[in-house]
């Protein structure tokens, strides 16, 4: 908002995801944002007032046409997949790597109107290994080679974006690396594990984990856009908690999985649908991870939640959901309804 005279035109990738939807909602309240266009393979899951939704294929091949047609000046790239339990390795590659290639191609076209790019990445790029420092700064490299598909794809994506940032001095590129997200709404392998009657842990390990609350996720994306941040930033709450203490806050006990070849047990458990711990999460439950969040706070961002605050927030949502049973979704996207509200002459819109 600060210092902006002309309204911004924003494109959000991954509008159907938690991140994209919540960010779009936040931007709708910002009078400095003139236009919000959202792309995704799935319809938005949250109610949106003025965001225009366009269905895209998995690799966003339609992106350059949309950028040209809407003349957006800002792209929020929130579609990167970080949960490998939700899609196959191939789909993950398609979404992350090919999707970002198409994005870079659209934003880097000769007559491109795009001046800013904010990317939602993950601290998965640091991996988790026993050689790690306690706190990763943005400029520190991971200590073990990336073996999982999701980590490799994110590293590839970040290197594309770095190249793009180097080649295009007139576009500010911000890469935000988010720690594991906790909150009242979001569902990840970690929140699923924490929602089980007993929390799975790896025997003999009690790693220190760092979390970021979902509100801070949305606020930091907004912040990066508003302040035109450039470069790489870790986004994570202050402090770290042992996994056993996280379970303790939820009032649960931990159940230990065997430390050697846990795959023998995890495979059948995943097939039964009890518990899915992909390799990158299993490594996290062994060695934990910490990232230094000072770069973003020095840029002026104020976190609302520490790590323990994020755990507390998750715990509240979890307790509430246990008592008040899950209801039917109160919102479902319907194309003709949304089109009516946005474009029909019958709708009386406030003139301002």
């Amino acid at each position: 908002m600060a210092g902006l005279t002309v309204g911004r035109r924003v494109l959000i990738t991954g509008l159907g995801t938690f991140w994209g939807g919540r960010v779009a909602q936040a931007l709708e309240n910002d009078p400095a944002v003139d236009l919000i266009v959202g792309l995704d393979t799935t319809t938005p899951a949250v109610k949106l007032e003025r965001t225009e939704y366009v269905r895209a294929d998995q690799s966003y091949s339609i992106l350059s046409r949309i950028v040209k047609a809407t003349q957006v000046d800002t792209i929020l790239h929130t579609s990167l997949a970080v949960d490998s339990t939700r899609m196959s390795g191939r789909a993950l590659h398609e979404t992350n790597v090919i999707g970002t290639m198409n994005l870079v191609a659209a934003a880097g076209a000769p007559d491109s109107p795009v001046r800013q790019l904010v990317v939602k990445s993950s601290t998965l790029v640091y991996g988790a290994s026993h050689r790690d420092p306690a706190w990763f700064r943005e400029d520190m490299a991971r200590t073990s080679p990336a073996k999982t598909r999701v980590e490799r794809s994110l590293l590839e994506v970040e290197s594309y974006l770095q190249d793009f940032a180097d080649e295009s001095p007139d576009v500010t590129v911000a890469i935000l690396r988010f720690a594991n997200v906790l909150g009242t709404d979001i569902v990840t392998p970690i929140t699923k594990a924490l929602s089980l009657p007993m929390v799975p842990a790896i025997f003999g390990f009690d790693p220190l984990l760092q979390f970021v609350e979902e509100d801070d996720v949305v606020r930091s994306l907004e912040f990066a856009m508003r302040e035109r941040l450039a470069g790489i930033y870790n986004v994570a709450g202050d402090g770290r908690l042992p996994w056993s203490e996280v379970a303790g806050v939820l009032g649960k006990r931990v159940v230990a999985l065997p430390p050697f070849s846990p795959g023998m047990l995890l495979g059948p458990l995943a097939r039964l649908g009890v518990l899915e711990l992909p390799d990158e999460v299993a490594a996290l439950l062994r060695f934990g991870r910490g990232v230094d969040n000072t770069r973003l706070t020095q840029a002026g961002f104020a976190y609302r939640y520490t790590t323990s605050g994020a755990v507390e927030s998750f715990s509240k949502g979890h307790r509430l959901r246990r008592v008040v049973p899950p209801t039917r979704p109160e919102y479902a996207y319907q194309r003709d309804v949304e089109a009516f509200f946005r474009h029909s002459p019958a709708v009386v819109r406030p003139t301002s």
Binding site: G14, G16, A134, T184, V187, G248, G317, P326
Partner: protein, 287 residues
């Protein structure tokens, strides 16, 4: 992809409209950001105190040279197949000075189930330069490091009290960057508490350990008990004069030759102190 799970959507959750105060929940445990727990440490102190006092009969000289506040890098010689010196130094300083000590150790520890977790709760930190820097500079803590690393604890009994190479002097660079003094500590007694008679490079390679020792303790007490039972060698610890490095902290780089000079200086003064202490020692067991 993390997203709202539509199958079990979402009880409308009460949300504050405007920024409330930052949320930080009270903690259940007391494990700090480095994995150290004062409660675990207190239990360990209670259990270890008889060993410290009556088995090793540890005796300090010049304990007042360790700063009462602010960061300092404690540098000691390293010995015994399973090092007995780190617990003695950490326990001694914590009980005598009331200051926590974070012990840097090979990151190998962290990969071991149970042992790695206990080690971290007891104040052990993987020896990453950035960990040491943060502990010293930001947290102002005492950090214990053995520059010889596994070369020190893995040496044979016939090489006892002969210091190995001090790495590449990384510890000096960390002290410079953090702007803290280096405090050398000479330890006599650890070498005799678990002497290594022979090493098996083949088994070490197979198990991925830095060395695989056959100790006198193992020969005497068997392989299981021998791995934990130390001989009651008398421990004498001498704190040498702190070395203040008159360079500005947080520099991009420091002079390589200066680093090597200081590291070698620390090594020589520790070696001389050890020789002096050994020449005064009448008995390995009685001191």
């Amino acid at each position: 992809m993390p997203e709202v799970d539509r199958s079990r959507t979402v009880v409308p959750f009460p949300r504050a409209a405007v920024a409330p105060e930052p949320v930080s929940a009270p903690r259940l445990g007391d494990v700090d950001a480095w994995g150290r727990s004062e409660r675990v440490r207190a239990v360990a102190r209670t259990l270890y105190d008889p060993i410290y006092r009556h088995w090793f009969r540890a005796e300090w000289e010049g304990l007042d040279k360790i700063p009462a506040e602010g960061g300092a890098l404690l540098v000691a010689n390293h010995a015994a197949a399973i090092p007995s010196d780190a617990p003695v130094i950490m326990h001694g300083i914590e009980t005598e000075l009331g200051r926590p000590v974070y012990g840097l150790a090979d990151y190998l520890f962290k990969a071991l189930p149970v042992v790695g977790t206990l080690w971290a709760r007891a104040g052990g930190v993987p020896a990453h330069p950035d960990n040491a820097y943060r502990l010293l500079r930001q947290d102002g803590q005492l950090v214990l490091v053995f520059p010889e690393g596994t070369k020190g604890s893995g040496k044979l009994f016939r090489d006892r009290y002969q210091l190995r190479r001090f790495g590449r002097g990384g510890f000096v660079e960390i002290a410079m960057r953090a702007g803290v003094p280096i405090v050398p500590i000479a330890v006599v007694g650890a070498e005799e508490s678990m002497p290594t008679l022979w090493k098996s490079p083949t088994v070490a390679k197979l198990t991925g350990l830095p060395y695989f020792p056959i100790t006198a303790n193992m020969l005497l007490f068997g392989p299981i008990l021998g791995a934990v039972a130390y001989f009651p060698a008398k421990f004498t610890l001498r704190v040498l004069d702190p070395i203040h490095l008159d360079v500005a902290p947080d520099q991009e780089r420091y002079s390589r030759s200066r680093i090597i000079d200081v590291a070698e200086g620390v090594r020589i003064s520790l070696q001389e102190a050890l020789l002096g202490m050994l020449s005064e020692r009448a008995s390995v067991w009685r001191g």
